[in-house]
């Protein structure tokens, strides 16, 4: 009971791990590229959660600064990923990742 009422760093880490696993499952099993990209966002968010939780634990803001960098990367990744998706869709008229099996088209 005591541990339920006291939210420690471990709680956040477990939450982050669960989110990370969800993301991994999504990336590995889904066929739709859009959802795969979203699962990658889930993974990045899990990482961010850990970073901010550690930052809280050690009483500094380094983790938060790093989380901001990760968010920046996520933005870049989403932009390029979705750009590729559009180009892919234009050529193949599908968004299934299975069909990305050629190096060129």
């Amino acid at each position: 009971m005591e541990s339920m009422l006291q939210i420690t760093t471990l709680h956040y880490l477990v939450l982050g791990a669960a989110l990370f696993l969800l993301g991994v499952v999504g990336v590995l099993t889904r066929r739709n590229v859009v959802i795969v990209l979203m699962s990658i966002e889930l993974i990045l968010n899990a990482v961010n959660l850990n970073l901010v939780a550690f930052s809280r634990m050690w009483g500094g803001v380094h983790g938060q600064v790093f989380a901001i960098f990760v968010i920046t990367d996520a933005a870049a990744e989403a932009a390029v990923g979705l750009g590729i998706l559009i180009a892919f869709f234009r050529n193949k008229e599908t968004v299934n990742i299975d069909e990305v099996n050629l190096l060129k088209w």
């Binding site: 559009i86 869709f89 234009r90 008229e93």
Partner: protein
Amino acid sequence: MTDPNTTLSHVDIADLAAHDKPYLDANELVINMGPQHPATHGVLRVILRLDGEKVLGLECVIGYLHRGVEKIGEHRTYTMFNPYVDRMDYVAAVSNGLGYCETVEKLLNVEAPPRAQHVRVILTELNRIASHQLWLGTHALDIGAITPLFYTFRDREEILKIYEKYCGARLTTHAFRIGGLQYETYTGFEKEVKNFLSFFRPKIDEYEELLTTNRIWVERTKNVGAISAEDCIALGVTGPVLRASGIKWDLRKAQPYANYKNFDFEIPVGTNGDTYDRYLVRMAEMRQSVRIIEQAVDALPEGPIMAKVPKVMKPPAGEVYHSIEAPKGELGYFIVSDGSTQPYRVRVRPPSFVNLQALDLMCRGELVADVIAVIGTLDIVLGEVDR
């Protein structure tokens, strides 16, 4: 650039869906503008093929307002058909009547007396102003400026009041009769028309103040829907659209009818043939109309208002074509007579219908918002397009 020669010949949306084409492709989108749409000025249906917001091509589907006016003409006597023509271009009913009356007069070989001619010119030019006012209001509304609409309607009301006092009707006036006028002008007609002119002259400046130098208005209309003089001639486009492309062609000067040759006025022309030029041309035309009316009222002669026409009209067998410069362009009537009391065939050359054919050409490569602007600037009336 898209190939300008691609056509949209009868794209059927159901057909597209059947071909397993992506409903919402990243490349192409077919949307249906109208027949129930706020900016198609009635029941025009425009099938747009879009690339994002860019128009690849469009097709007009008309006929939702078809009432068979021409066919009705074959079953009515010449006099009975006269009110029907008012229902074609209902915002310029007086011009329609003038065209029809003059055509039948040509067929009968009579001429209206000078006083009638003068009154006809006054009423027709007032009508031109009213039509241009309505055009300006709705065109500006389409482009997003709400206020000019109410200004123009406020001032158009004064014209309609004059009509109401003259013949009892405001919109579909049936003001003229074959051979002249049915009604003598009411007392104070000249004064009221003059009052209107002095009231209206500053109002044109007011409209122009709102729009002519308005940055957004200029950006929305300059180089939008431009059409060259050659294309205009090839498509048979007439009226302010043609004049905005730089061709000085106005039937009032080119083939003077009524007694326009007695009046001194200019034909405003544009240079680029874009929406902004058409706007300027119409604004200038309103000013010219004011000039014509002023001269006509000043020189209004006394005399009879009706020529001698038989009670039962039986024009000699033959055919006649006569056209006038309606506010929207060349309005022509082609009447074939077989010598009976009813026309054998009536054919109307409506300016709106012919001008509408230029829509596809004017909109290719423009954006959706420009289609709205171009439909507005063509100044079509669906009643006239569909007849």
